[in-house]
């Protein structure tokens, strides 16, 4: 494994889109993130953000079927955490709308707060999505007490 330029360490997780794997994913990512100097509050925030992004892949991406969820977690040489949560599901037709607080395609069951929590708890959120191809959510966060070196 030659690490990409600017990446100090990296782990990849792959698992089926089952609800019980949401806890696995957020905990595994938090353990990896702890290689950086995050506070406990920050690690909790990362857990929530991962939980939201992975829950979305489980609920929204594959309808009633089970697909693969891939989580890439990297630590840059500058000390920033970059997370990518990737599915090969149905995609988001209108990303800008979906990111609005309280916007949800399932108003009966969901609150539409997933993206809001990701925004609130991470430094940056980026969403790339294509119909029938899937969705890739990129989340970034650096420890507040050790600003990233560039």
């Amino acid at each position: 494994m030659t690490l990409p330029e600017g990446i100090a360490n990296q782990v990849v997780l792959e698992f089926p889109s089952k609800p019980e794997n949401v806890a696995f994913a957020r905990t595994a990512v938090a353990v990896f993130a702890a290689q950086l100097d995050f506070t406990l509050d920050e690690l909790d925030e990362i857990k929530v953000a991962v939980s939201e992004a992975v829950s979305n892949a489980v609920i929204h991406a594959y309808g009633d079927t089970v697909g693969t969820v891939r989580v890439e977690a990297a630590i840059t040489t500058g000390g920033e955490l970059i997370l990518r949560i990737i599915d090969r599901g149905q995609g988001i037709p209108d990303v800008a709308a979906a990111r609005q607080p309280q916007w949800t395609s399932r108003p009966e069951e969901r609150m539409g707060l997933g993206f809001t929590f990701m925004e609130e708890y991470m430094d940056a959120v980026d969403v790339e999505s294509a119909p029938q191809a899937g969705t890739r959510v990129t989340l970034r966060k650096a420890p507040a007490r050790a600003p990233i070196a560039r």
């Binding site: 609800p19 019980e20 949401v22 806890a23 957020r26 509050d41 909790d44 857990k47 929530v48 939980s51 939201e52 829950s55 489980v58 609920i59 069951e109 969901r110 609150m111 707060l113 997933g114 809001t116 929590f117 609130e120």
Partner: protein, 120 residues
């Protein structure tokens, strides 16, 4: 997620142990609904969150749904009992503290539902 429920007067006290997320929110929801259906006397809901280390928007959604039922159908109150720091922060972030009061002890929670018996 382990859930225990018991009634005290017109309050239902639900004690949870475990993380409240996509996997576990349905069990919580089903349990509270079953308890409410079983007893028309219940007006208030006290959620003992001492054993809950984590919550996300799926868990928030499950709590919010119960708030609506309690407040609209029973004209009662929902109290969060001693949420831990990460859970408290997410409750605040979701704006749930406008609908749910926080008590630090069960005694305090029971006093809260006794004192003001109307929706705050």
């Amino acid at each position: 997620m382990h859930i225990k429920a018991r009634r005290m007067g017109d309050s239902l006290i639900v004690r949870m142990e475990g993380e409240l997320d996509l996997k576990t929110a349905d069990a919580f929801k089903a349990r509270v609904r079953a308890e409410l259906a079983a007893s028309g006397r219940i007006r208030h809901l006290i959620l003992d969150l001492r054993g809950v280390p984590f919550i996300d928007s799926s868990g928030i959604g499950a709590i919010l749904g119960r708030c609506r039922e309690i407040r609209e159908e029973r004209q009662g109150r929902v109290i969060a009992l001693a949420p831990r720091r990460p859970v408290r922060r997410v409750l605040a972030l979701a704006g749930l503290l406008r609908l749910v009061d926080v008590a630090e002890t069960q005694r305090e929670a029971l006093a809260m539902v006794k004192e003001g018996s109307a929706v705050p």
